[in-house]
């Protein structure tokens, strides 16, 4: 045995890639697509992503939609008609809900991820309740959900009320 290969045997070397045969066991996308197991914070994480991606898609669509402006009134109106259907209204309601949730929860997250509103570390006493999963945080999520629901409801009223 030469000296070079010896290091590889010890466990602190990263054998992860070398043993390609081993199942890497990662949950993959299923990991974050399933928000049900670990409490509200996980739901927030999941929704923040979904709404973020959703809003991005909407935003791209929206920029495209408004670009019909340059092609004159007919192009604009035919574009606008797409949203004046029931389906279009429901879609817009979802966008309203998504943006409300994403915004409100996003503002909470900006505080949280800057270490604010989480409580202080201290001696944990059994049974252990994590201070970071406190009610301030949870209510932030609930408020975001609630506001999103209200916004969707209001938006629905406006749009469907307007259409009739």
């Amino acid at each position: 045995m030469g000296l070079e290969s010896e290091g590889d045997k010890s466990s602190d070397f990263n054998t992860y890639n070398a043993k390609a045969k081993m199942d890497n066991g990662r949950e993959g996308l299923r990991g974050w697509l399933n928000p049900t197991r670990y409490g509200w914070e996980r739901v927030s994480y999941w929704l923040q992503r979904l709404t973020g991606v959703g809003l991005l898609l909407y935003f791209i669509g929206h920029v495209y939609e408004t670009s019909s402006l340059v092609n004159g009134i007919d192009a604009w109106n035919s574009m606008l008609e797409l949203t004046q259907t029931t389906g279009g209204h429901i879609f817009l309601m979802l966008v309203i809900g998504a943006s409300t949730f994403h915004t409100v929860n996003g503002i909470r997250l900006i505080f949280t991820e800057s270490g604010l509103g989480l409580g202080k570390p201290g001696r944990p006493d059994y049974p252990y309740d994590a201070t970071s999963l406190n009610y301030k945080q949870k209510s932030g999520i609930w408020v975001a959900l609630l506001l999103a629901a209200i916004a969707m409801f209001y938006g629905g009223l406006v749009m469907f009320g307007d259409a009739s």
């Binding site: 670990y38 409490g39 570390p121 309740d129």
Partner: protein, 258 residues
């Protein structure tokens, strides 16, 4: 006085990754008492039903971190989970998610340990030698109980990997250090004997570093030791953001007379 006995079904995930991939579940009927833990039940199955169950365990008192596994869908310590508290007649044991699998319930921790090592989890101090070499050095750091409390919680970590297994970012990102390693970075930063935060900030403020935590909180949700890694990580981010002010005074060693 005799205790009532209950029968439960233990469903154990079985496979050997070097030979064949096709996993299956084996079922064992186990008699349990009020205090029987999942580990007890598994060892019972191993001793009397099927000795080929591969399982990792040692202390049986939730201090070594060996026996992490997914029990009824959630990462838990087998020795710390009583069957009676699961409220179920079927107990499903699977290997921890997000770890490469070796066999049955046993997973490979080398990458997890490597992440821990990478954040340089030891005291850096420029002014006080960390090695005590002569007897003049026989003086300790001065650190009050309040200063201990600032990091103590994070040193409860037994490296069981449950948090790593629950975290949704770890589920896809192999380079993300994970809640365990990141909370240890905070542990040393909060310890006033250490002045190595500049170095550690450099290590974790990376593309796949601390910012890939989006406060899913699942790590703190499953941690059996009350470490609350999510808290440490967010507090650390606060420092990186420049929001939290840095008022740590590096401890000095006491003088001989004190």
């Amino acid at each position: 006085m005799s205790e009532e006995q209950n029968k439960i079904k233990l469903r154990v995930y079985r496979t050997n990754y070097s030979n064949d991939y096709s996993p299956r579940f084996d079922e064992y009927d186990i008699a349990v008492k009020r205090w029987t833990t999942v580990l007890d039940a598994l060892l019972d199955a191993k001793a009397y039903s099927d000795s080929s169950i591969a399982i990792r365990y040692s202390c049986r008192m939730a201090s070594c971190g060996s026996c992490g596994m997914k029990i009824n869908g959630k990462p838990r310590l087998a020795c710390y989970t009583k069957i009676s508290e699961l409220n179920s007649h079927t107990i499903v044991c699977e290997p921890l998610a997000n770890f490469p699998r070796i066999r049955d319930l046993v997973t490979d921790f080398s990458q997890f340990f490597a992440h821990h090592k990478k954040i340089e989890p030891y005291v850096h101090n420029e002014n006080v030698p960390t090695e005590v070499s002569n007897n003049d050095d026989l003086v300790e750091f001065k650190q009050t109980p309040e200063e201990v409390d600032k990091y103590l919680q994070f040193s409860y970590c037994i490296k069981c990997g449950l948090c790593y297994s629950a975290c949704p970012t770890v589920a896809t990102d192999a380079k993300f250090p994970g809640p365990q390693a990141l909370s240890q970075a905070y542990r040393y930063m909060a310890d006033n004997r250490d002045d190595g935060e500049k170095k550690r900030f450099k290590i974790i403020d990376e593309r796949h570093g601390i910012w890939r935590c989006h406060f899913a909180g699942s790590c703190s949700n499953v941690c059996p030791k009350g470490v609350d890694p999510a808290l440490g990580i967010q507090l650390l981010k606060g420092h990186l953001m420049g929001v939290s002010k840095h008022d740590k005074k590096i401890a000095r060693v006491r003088t001989k007379e004190e």
